[in-house]
Symmetry: C2
Subunit: 420 residues, 2 copies
Amino acid sequence: MSAGVKAKPHASSKAAVLDAIRAAGTISRVGLAAATGFTGPTISALVRRLIEEGLVVETGRAESTGGKRRVLLQLNHTARYAVGVHLDHGGVTHVLTDLSGTVVARITRRGAGADEPRTVVSRTAAEISGLIDSIGVERERVLGVGLVSPGPLGPTHGIGLAPPTMRHWQGFPLGQALEQATGLPVVLDNDATAAALGEHWSGGLGTTTSSAAVYLGTGIGAGLVINGITYRGPSGNAGEFGHVCVDIDGPECWCGARGCVEAMAGAAAVVQAVRADPALTGAVGLGTRGVRASTAADFAAVSRAARKGEPKALALLERSARYIAAAARTLANIMDLEVLVLTGPGFAVAGSVYLPVVQRELRRTAFSRGTHVVDVRLSRSAATASAVGAAALVLESELVPLSQGTRLSERLAAESAAVP
Amino acid sequence: MSAGVKAKPHASSKAAVLDAIRAAGTISRVGLAAATGFTGPTISALVRRLIEEGLVVETGRAESTGGKRRVLLQLNHTARYAVGVHLDHGGVTHVLTDLSGTVVARITRRGAGADEPRTVVSRTAAEISGLIDSIGVERERVLGVGLVSPGPLGPTHGIGLAPPTMRHWQGFPLGQALEQATGLPVVLDNDATAAALGEHWSGGLGTTTSSAAVYLGTGIGAGLVINGITYRGPSGNAGEFGHVCVDIDGPECWCGARGCVEAMAGAAAVVQAVRADPALTGAVGLGTRGVRASTAADFAAVSRAARKGEPKALALLERSARYIAAAARTLANIMDLEVLVLTGPGFAVAGSVYLPVVQRELRRTAFSRGTHVVDVRLSRSAATASAVGAAALVLESELVPLSQGTRLSERLAAESAAVP
């Protein structure tokens, strides 16, 4: 498996059945037939194979509904594992998840900062080995590594047009280097898209037609989920929420446009506004020139100060929230959103300021408000959603829902091949 | 069929085969099997039934590729017809299309203006009768009427939250009233979404993963096409491009938000800016108080003046284009667009001003520009795209592509039912 190959996984009937079992928790064979549309004999054959491969186990019987009590199936959670790495300027989060996407081990380390890509790759490979060994998982059970970082991704699935803090990564063959260093298959994606996938796997987006996870980290992004499937767009650049324009005459953004919400309201913009006021810089406790922390650490310090009642820090966060709310209105009006989840490390520390501002804006101005509300929520796992989503990218290779692009012929071929 | 029912049509194998024939123009049975994924015997059975129903005809043989020359199939274009009506404040366009979506008759009348909804419905029913009779089509061959108007649509598929010029339509049971007046089934939708469907049927969007038609009429809207399927969102309000924010502190829009592109750059905003300058009002030839034309007619007059070299008129259109270009950048960044078509009556008269401005903006600032271009085009049928799309909504009931939400079980059931 080469980098990026799994980003558009091949759908198979086995994967569809596995995903239906994952989504249900426990389910009978009859329930599976209803959920997937496969016939009873096909389900029996597929389940037999999944049990033989150790991916699924029988786990008792359902409550009787009059007839014979049905045997329930569930994933064998410890049959497979996946590693998720969220690589950011401000911090690197590593998780190991089981087959259900549940985190079984986690390490957070300092960010990539200005370090050379090759150094970061070696360090990451060592962390991954430590993570796997720490809980005694055999290497053969680890399906691969999902690594996500601020976007966008180029066609070769390395980091293409890079944000300023990761400019020195531009063009570096990240996937290939990490495959060599770990001996595991590697999948790359955008951290905001991965956060949406992480929210989707953890049930945070519910079962909606149209939902989005807005991500606040070093940058701002969003992942879109349409009919239960992550929408990535033709080049993997969909959901570039950070580059939604909120002021046509606003300041220039690193992307080349003006008035992008990331340039006006991202963590770096908030920290910069604090630093423009020396008294506030001192009050918030930001390091001075020479001993500066990462933008993420500085933003967390501003958020702590705001929570403790520092009025200027609070005002700056509320100003940022107002811009993000306007961009969220634009996103809701384009996608006809039902659910919008705020996630990522920025909302993990400052969500209590942002949530009410975004909720109020969408309740008051979303175009669809006469028809349905837009349910704005704060993620319960905002700090780790991207890393979990990174692992889920790998798990999707075993557990894949029906993809938007799946051709019926492939599914029919898969189904007939499954019947012995 | 009641109003709106066809907005999410039931997919069937017959419809999938019909749509494949429509898309191809002419195609053999072997080609159909490859295009749809159905087996040879299934295709034979389905085609036999379509020929018996008069929807498909055999039309000669393909060039030999060595073996037996294959019989080609095509739609029997005159087997079915559909009516499309684009109802706007400024003008009403009525089209009659055949089964392929080709316009066979067309009438344009003055707009609904301030007339009572019941009066407009009676007049529309009379126009539809005239249109059908004018070319001697038997009533039984007319599948129904698609009627589109400025959005958004409420859950009852009448006009919900209405723009100012159509405020008196709010809550009027339009679909029901027109069904009673015409005796034909009626489908309702948003004019911008319909324009995207019209562009899709006429091939204007090409075969892309992600494309949009941006519509400039009395209002501004967009229709989104993802993987060849119109994306409407859970409440039919997706693609509300007119309510993309381009200036967080901009003027208030009728929708309740601030800085919407429609409020800052729509036809009404342009006309209002002209009227603020009495000399320009005279130079452009706008009617004075008491004898005012519709916004659409006034906007067309401003566009004519700009084309003739009136510098202030041109400057106002270019200012509008700058705002629409910024909103188009936002749309492209959210959807990862490959193709953006400018359509609708506004671009029909002023597209030559808008096209280069939008093209330049996306070439310079689209986030995906390192990976792929966003192909910005002017529609070749900008004036009638919404009416054609309205008819296509009806034709989709016979000719429906695989819907994003189609369950495999439905398709399998349809397939097995098709085999005798």
